[in-house]
Amino acid sequence: MRRLFTYPYILWLAIFVIAPLLLVVFFAVTGTDTYGNTYFTLQNMGQFFEGIIDDQPFFQRIYVVITMRSLRLALQTAVICFILGYPLAYILASKGFRNKPFLIFLFIMPMWMNFLVRTYGWMSILERNGIMNNFLRLLNLPTIDIMFTDSAVLLGMVYNFLPFMVLPIYTSLTKMDKRIIEAAQDLGANPRNVFLRVVFPLSLPGVVSGITMVFMPAAATFIIPNLLGGGQFFLLGNLVEQQFMLAGNWHFGSAVAVVMIILMIVSTFILSRFDRQEEVSEGGMRL
């Protein structure tokens, strides 16, 4: 009975999870000559680090610049989401609201909308002749032109990924053993110390999984920069998409994908070091 279930599933994993990843690695370290023959080469990986123009300083090379930009933007997104999201999760987890389930429902609801739709909503707000500028003109204030800039992309990312920060933190705050907090109060800690020395450290697993769940997709997205950043805003995700869908260069596209996978593994590893209590279960991330 046990084998009946297990072996087909292992076969499934081998075909649909392992084989595709092996294909990515395979294409990253091979090339195709004009006769259609495949040969081993490290040229694709090299191209990623060398860029297109010869002899540039390392940090000015085009693909290095794109990588750094993606990482910077993802980090900024994660930090802003944390700053905005922690107080929100804390307020939602605290007592003293009459209609708490409804309130939480209100915050989760936008998350269930298609994220393309939500991003499109921002486009109509931020445009040069969009709602925000029309409103500013009405008040005779100077208009703000942030569409197709870093700020617009950052705003779109924060907006889209904020719930992924709030939910794990909220879960870890509500699951916390309240007796520990009471014990701290009984032992004479003031509210500030209760928070800084007890509540916050105990909510760290939630913070770590929140940061992971914001940072990873933010570093890999290509759709938000595509819509809010216009054509010229280039991140790692855009690069992969362009290599596969436009340039048709699977070898270089795969090399970029391999770099992304390595970055992902490294950052997961770094983040997991902060997270002693692992498993702030997956259930908390989407309600």
Binding site: R2, L13, V24, F107, W122, E127, P191, G237, G283
Partner: protein, 277 residues
Amino acid sequence: MTRFFSKIIVVLKPFYLGLMLFFMYAPIAVLIIFSFNDSRSRGTWEGFSFRWYEQLFNDPHTQSALRNTILLAIFSTIFATLIGTLAAIGIDRMKKRSRTVVMLISRVPVMMPDVITGISLMMLFQFVFRMLGFGGLGFGTMLLAHIVFNVPYVILSVTPKIRQLDPNLYEAALDLGSNPARAFFQVILPELWPGVITGAMLAFTMSVDDFMVSFFTTSPGVQNLSIRIFSMTRRGVDPSINALSTIIFVVVMIMLILINLRDKHLITKRGEDGNEN
């Protein structure tokens, strides 16, 4: 002094909540309002009309995208739930070491960025088609891809229920004279049911919401709603996207309210036995 601060915080709490709600709902509200605008403009109001809804319903591409999305969600949910539930049962009975490895690999589609899942599956499909000498990307490959990224969600929801299972339950059923199949369907499965339902619901939403993986595993002719919206935004201003968004918003809201009502009903029925599902 602390008194003073705590008073400020009491006032600030609802203010902050209101601000965040405004932030969350501003773009959605804008979309909904301008879906009734009698002009192509996204920024100026020029009267009330239903013309974008009319245009939406007369658009064959959007209709087929909607049909594809629903079919994809239904079929990928059914298959992923079947595969995931059976796999979770199988994994639970493995030896500890191999179980850890299999669970880790199972999580890969969840941990990977969607772009990577998308391109790697596309490469797999194209590779197989090239070896076979026929076939191409389309609805079938998109469905397979959806099943692939949905299976982990089912496994992750069913596994905790299996862990809670009393190991003697199955044996007791056998001792009392039931055959293995009946013991499974009438004793084990009902215990796992809440996890299976949660997994299926997750799978369904993931499938409806997916853009990235679908984008890479389909051909230009076969779209789901996300891809349709994407191609509409690329063509510039088209308020029928607003109409579509409004409809999606209303459907999602109704579904969530129904689910919440059902949950409340269950909670009151079960009383206080502490079961969260």
